[in-house]
Amino acid sequence: MTSLLILFLGAIVVLYYGINKPEGKSLLMTVILLLAALSSLVYDLLTVKNRNVLGWLTEYVPENMLIWNFNSIAFSIVLVLAFLLVLGLFSRNNYIGADLLGLMLFSVCGGMLMTSFSNLIMLFLGIECLSIPLYVLAGSKKSDLASNESAVKYFLMGAFSTAIFLMGCAFLYGGTGSLELESISRATSMITHLGIKSNLIFSGIILLMAGMLFKISAFPFHFWSPDVYDGSPNRTTVFMATVVKIAAFAAFYRLFNEGLGDVKNWWGVTLAVSAGATILFGNIAAIRQSSFKRMLAYSSVAHAGYMLMAILALPQNGFWALLVYLIAYTSSAVSVFYLLDRTSGENSNFSFDNFNGLGKQSKWLSLILIVSMFSMAGIPMTAGFAGKYGLFSSIITSYPWLLYAALIGSAISIAYYFRVFKHAFFSEDGTLVAWKIGTMEWIFLALSLTITLLVGCWPAVITLCK
C-alpha cells in the first residue's frame, strides 16, 4: 500500500513540475520514486506472512477493496521493474514536456490497482487509470498522423471494451449478489456444487472474458493492437508491450483463475480455443511483415496467446509459469525495442534493413540482439525457454491439443525472429549510423541481459523469495 501511495503522490508532483520542461530532472525524480516503491514492495514481500501488509494504513483503507498477498505483490514488483527498465533504456530523447512521465506514473498506479484488486470496482478503476493516460501517450506526437490514428483507435477500442467488461460485471453482480472477488468465488463454487445453471452468471463471465481478451489483444479481438503499436511513439509502444501487458495478465489471472476457477468448465474451452487461435494467427501474421516494429507487435499478440495458457492451468502452476514468462518476455522485449529505436534514428521507418551492419558496429550489441531473439523464440538457456516450458507443462494434461498449436506456433516464430540476423550479420551494405551509448543505457542493457540468462539457466531463482 505504501508503494502505491508513493507512486501516486509522486506522479502528481512530476506532472506539475514537468510541464513544458525538458525531461532531465523529472526523469531522475521518477527513477527515485520507482526505486522507493520497489524497495517498499520488496519489504512487503519478505514480511507478507508475518503481518498485515496494509501496515499503518489499516484503519484508513476499506479492507475489501485491495488485497496485498504474495501473488499481488509479486506481480506488482515485476510491473515496477518493467517500468524501470523502460525508463532506463528510453531516456536519450530528452523530450520537451516532462509531464508525460507523470502520466506514465499514473498509468503504473492503475496497473498496481489491477494486480492487487479484491473488488470489481477497484479492477474497473485500475483498468481506467491505466488506460486513460495511455490514450494521451499514444497521441503524444501531436502533428504526426500515424500517432493521431493510433490514439483514436486505441481510445475507441479501449472505451468499447470497457463497456463490454462493465456489462459483464453487472451480470455477475446480479447473479452472485456481490462485487467482491471472494464472495463471487464462494457463490460460483456453491452453484457448481449444487449443479445449478445460472444464465446471469454465465453471460456475465462470457462478457467479462470478451472485455479482458480485448485488453490483452487476443484473437478474435486483436485487430486494433498492431496499428496502435505501430503508430505510437517508441517509448509508448514498449510501455504498452511490457507494463500494460503485465498488469492486464495479472488482473486476468486473478479474476479468472483465483476468482472464477471453480466454474472453469463454463469458460475453459472458449478461452483455450481463443489462446490457440491467438498463437497461430499472431505467428503467421508476423512472418509477412516487412516492418520490424509491426513484426514485434504481431509477436506480442502471439506471446499473449502463450500467456493465456497460465489462466487455464491449476492455480499454483499457473502463477509461477505466468510470472516467469512475464519476466522473460519483458526483459527481452525491452532490449529489442531499444535496438529498434536506436537503429531507426530520427525517421519513422522501421524496416528490417535498419539493422544492416549492426554486427560490425558492436560486439556487445550483437550479443544482446542474439540473446533477446533467442529468448523470444524460446531457445534453451534463455528465459523464454524456461517460461514456455512452465506454461506448456502446466496445461499438458488438460488441453493437449492446445499444446500442439503452441508448438507449431513456436516453430513458425523462429523463422521471423532469426530473419533479423541475416540483416545484422550477413549484409554488406550497412547504412547504420553508429550511436553513442550512455552509462545508464549500458547498465540497464546489462541488467536485462543478466535477467534473461539467469532465469534461463536457473529458473528456480524466481522462487527463492518464497
Partner: protein
C-alpha cells in the same frame, strides 16, 4: 394512484431486457457508424445501459455496492469523454475530418 406503484409491478427481468436492448443498440452503433463523435455517443449509451442494470440489481437485492459502482462509472466516463474529445479535436486540426474510415495509414 401512487406513481411509484407502476415501477413496483415491474419484474427485475424487464430491467435486464431493457438494458440489454440499450446495450445492443450502442454496440450496433459502434460497429456500423464512422463518425468519431457518434461512436463516442454510442459508447456512452452502452455505459448507461450498464448503469441502469446496476441500479436495478442494487435496488432489487437491497445492496448498496451496485449504486456505488454507478457513481464510479459516471465519473470515469466523464474523464474518458474529456480525453477522447481532446484526441478527436487534435485529429480534426490535422485532417479537417472526424471520419474514422479515413484512418487507413496504418495497416498490414
Amino acid at each position: 394512484m401512487n406513481p411509484d406503484s407502476v415501477f413496483n409491478t415491474l419484474d427485475i427481468s424487464h430491467y435486464i431486457y431493457l438494458s440489454s436492448v440499450l446495450f445492443c443498440i450502442g454496440l450496433f452503433g459502434v460497429l456500423t457508424r464512422r463518425n468519431a463523435i457518434v461512436l463516442l455517443m454510442c459508447i456512452e449509451l452502452m455505459l448507461n445501459a450498464v448503469n441502469l442494470l446496476f441500479v436495478a440489481f442494487s435496488s432489487y437485492m437491497g445492496d448498496s455496492a451496485g449504486q456505488l459502482f454507478v457513481f464510479f462509472i459516471m465519473v470515469v466516463a466523464a474523464a474518458e469523454a474529456a480525453v477522447g474529445l481532446a484526441i478527436i479535436v487534435m485529429i480534426y486540426r490535422n485532417t479537417r475530418s472526424t471520419d474514422v474510415g479515413l484512418f487507413d495509414k496504418l495497416k498490414g
